[in-house]
Amino acid sequence: MEFSIYRFNPETDTLPKMQRFTLTDDQIEPGMMLLDALLLLKEQDDSLGFRRSCQHGVCGSDGMNINGVNGLACITPLADLEAPVTLRPFPGMPVIRDLIVDMDNFWDQYRRAEPWLVNDSPEPEVERKQSPQDRDQLDGLYECILCGCCSAACPSYWWNPDKFLGPAALLQAARFIQDSRDEATDHRLAELDDAWKLYRCHTIMNCTQVCPKGLNPSRAISDIRRTMLKKSL
């Protein structure tokens, strides 16, 4: 199976290039994931750089652009990919080396969403309780693993990464806006009500298409807008 992989080492290269790799049929096993293939390719050329950790679609480390679509290498079956498999780093993010991108801005935007529970009421003896119905509101929001596939697929994030929070951070904003235990809803909505942080989203839904966890950041963004509208009426 043929692979074409983006290579760039800022210490030695002036321009990036695509490098061909090959795995023989006997190296490919049934049920093999793309990350398994990458680990084999790294044995051929140990200078090949990519991130990975848990290898089970939980840590979100191995996000990359796979045949033109962002995804996680560890949960992408090799059998589903058309050869030559073209691997590139996330679009719109600065490349550190090969498939490794600088996600500092992504994390900065995540922090700007204030992804923590704000509740200044006296602490109960055991825990802050929620009704099952209120807890259900968090489904589809809390499961995000922050891999960055969505934000790196969003043109609004490509054009204004420093101002637009991006779908991942906005999904987190929605998660805390929806949380019945959170007391900072008005503050959260007021912070998002400008021309940049939320409203650069034009609902093209690339984020939803690529999310490897099957989440829907686009709907979360629409829910924030709807909540904002209800609050202002």
């Binding site: 009500d193 940049w196 409203y199 650069r200 904002m228 509208l229």
Partner: protein, 112 residues
């Protein structure tokens, strides 16, 4: 520009889209089913106070809709402050002139 920012701009664009959409559909229906045969008949239609008022609101809302759209495009794609200023001045100025021109036409039709 907080006046046309965030939620307010987003909401205004949608409200104006509804009015503009309804106006365009009705206007097209009128053109197809009962188009005035000559200039005098056109002038009589556009000079009617209700048609004039509805069309003036259409022009105003279309202007608002287009300005927000133009602003969005510029915010997305034009990043250099100088270039952004030029596009805002030229685009906004163009919109303003065409809007004023449309009002001038409506007023002339109303006075005729």
């Amino acid at each position: 520009m907080k006046l046309l920012s965030g939620q307010r701009a987003w909401l205004l664009q949608r409200i104006t889209a509804v009015y503009v959409g309804v106006y365009v559909v009705l206007a097209l229906g009128f053109f197809v089913l009962a188009a005035p045969p000559d200039h005098a008949a056109w002038q009589a239609v556009m000079g009617h106070p209700v048609v004039g008022l509805v069309t003036a609101v259409f022009v105003l809302l279309l202007w608002l809709h287009a300005w927000i759209g133009l602003r969005d495009v510029v915010m997305d794609y034009v990043h250099a402050p100088g270039a952004r200023l030029v596009v805002f001045v030229l685009g906004g100025g163009g919109l303003l002139l065409t809007g004023l021109w449309a009002f001038f036409i409506l007023i002339r039709a109303g006075l005729a």
